[in-house]
Point group: none
Chain length 254, copies 2
DNA sequence: TTACACCTTTCCGTAGCGTTAATGTAAATA
DNA sequence: TATTTACATTAACGCTACGGAAAGGTGTAA
């Protein structure tokens, strides 16, 4: 039995465009080309197409399928395992997204109008989560602190009141920090007050606070551009100032 | 305060390319263009960018964000609801995919000579699949998705040793529970021991343990016939007994 | 003046096709 | 047989949300 694109497409339930594309990328070449330039497929190609569709249903990329079907030495199980791991990661991310969307809907329904600042605070928190997701490993290695990951769980448990508390706290930090910065002295009373407030703020996100972790976070505020920018928004150098204040506050050398 | 693309990008943690793109699609236009053609942003734009990033974090498309921010009459909550529904659909599809990938891996492994490790892997998969297939949908509907997803994810991350631990633990629970049941008193020392063991067991599956969740699970053991049957296997009434013990253990009223 | 950081626009690439457009061929009908 | 209809071809743009590179202008400091 021989098939043109239309017929094979109808048989397998794919478009003719798809078949031409698969030809183009070398995934499924027709058995031959007739005198008019038509693609002609045979039984072998039908079977191969079935297999292609099978792997495609598993969500594998076409390039991976090319390897699986065309390279006999290719380790299919390994590829599937890696693929599964990717899918699981995706699901975790999805769960996070859904939780955040729910939170936002709840907030809107509660008719609590979020100020821009509050929104930004939410964003900052999410930035931490993102860091955890994207760079988790690197940051852990760099700052030797595995408490970061716990912020997610804690955040999800926060209710509206706690959320407002934490937002207010951050505003206080900003204000105190701005005043403290003017003294130019990270060991000044007001600077230490800022560090104390910051510790309280962190405690909202981390279930176990430790000096080392706090100091690591402080260093991160300087090293990571995004955090730095947040604290330096009003005054260049504030991030460093906060770091130094925290270092003194925690009694870590610097 | 005024910002060029670089500065605003650093502040918000996005690339200059992104800012130019947002300008291009009309999502975020600079306050003005200076005589050299530079984009200059002001405070208003900073705030708007925060909002953009906030919604982007929720996974909304940029076009939707344009509507939310630029059309005052746009129904944000409705959009979020629709968005959530899409996310939930996605997750269902993902779960299906994952199940199929697992099945395929198992099949392939069946053909190859299975090492002990691989056998173990397969077994673990099967446990997950059974969990998912037997109880998946109904439990998800009844008790919420996140708990189930998390327990599956955790199960997959377990290594052999942990898996054996958790299995032993379950056997211990069964034994202790049988003995405790004879006392007829869910607040007896041995019954509370059973509840304690059960908490440990749950902690293997849940990343964040909470009293409320544990109590909810206990009620589930009674409400859901299959779980009930599992605990009542030896003695009718054991499921209720365990529930009561857990309620007392967690200090929840009943 | 030179160096250098920063700015601009333009364009290609991404994954997997959908969708025209322009044109050629095979089969069915008047 | 002529015409219509159905199907074939290649080429090229479009979709999402940018990343990255090229080619060139601008601002500022040494």
């Amino acid at each position: 039995m021989e098939y043109t694109v239309k017929k094979l497409g109808a048989l397998a339930g794919v478009s003719t465009r798809t078949l031409r594309y698969y030809d183009e990328i070398g995934l499924l070449k027709p058995a031959r080309i007739n005198s008019s330039g038509y693609r002609i497929y045979g039984e072998l190609e039908v079977d191969k197409l079935q297999q292609i569709l099978f792997y495609k249903e598993l969500g594998l990329e076409l390039e991976r399928i090319v390897q699986i079907l065309d390279e006999p030495s290719f380790d299919t199980t390994h590829a599937l395992r890696k693929h599964r791991s990717k899918l699981l990661d995706k699901r975790e991310q999805l769960d996070l997204l859904i939780a955040n969307v729910n939170k936002t809907i709840n907030k809107n329904e509660g008719r609590i109008i979020m100020s821009d600042k509050e929104k930004f605070e939410g964003f900052k928190q999410k930035a931490i989560e993102e860091n955890e997701h994207k760079y988790g490993k690197e940051i852990r290695e760099k700052y030797g602190n595995d408490t970061i990951s716990q912020s997610n769980a804690k955040l999800q448990k926060m209710n509206q009141e706690e959320y407002e508390n934490v937002t207010r706290l951050d505003e206080q930090i900003q204000k105190t920090l701005t005043d403290a910065f003017k003294t130019g002295n990270p060991s000044s009373e007001i600077a230490q007050k800022a560090a104390e407030l910051h510790k309280q703020w962190v405690s909202y996100y981390w279930s176990d606070y430790s000096k080392e972790a706090n100091a690591g976070l402080a260093q991160m505020y300087v090293d990571d551009e995004r955090f730095k920018a947040h604290y330096d928004k009003e005054q260049e150098g504030t991030a460093e100032f906060l770091r130094d204040a925290i270092y003194i506050y925690t009694g870590m050398k610097w």
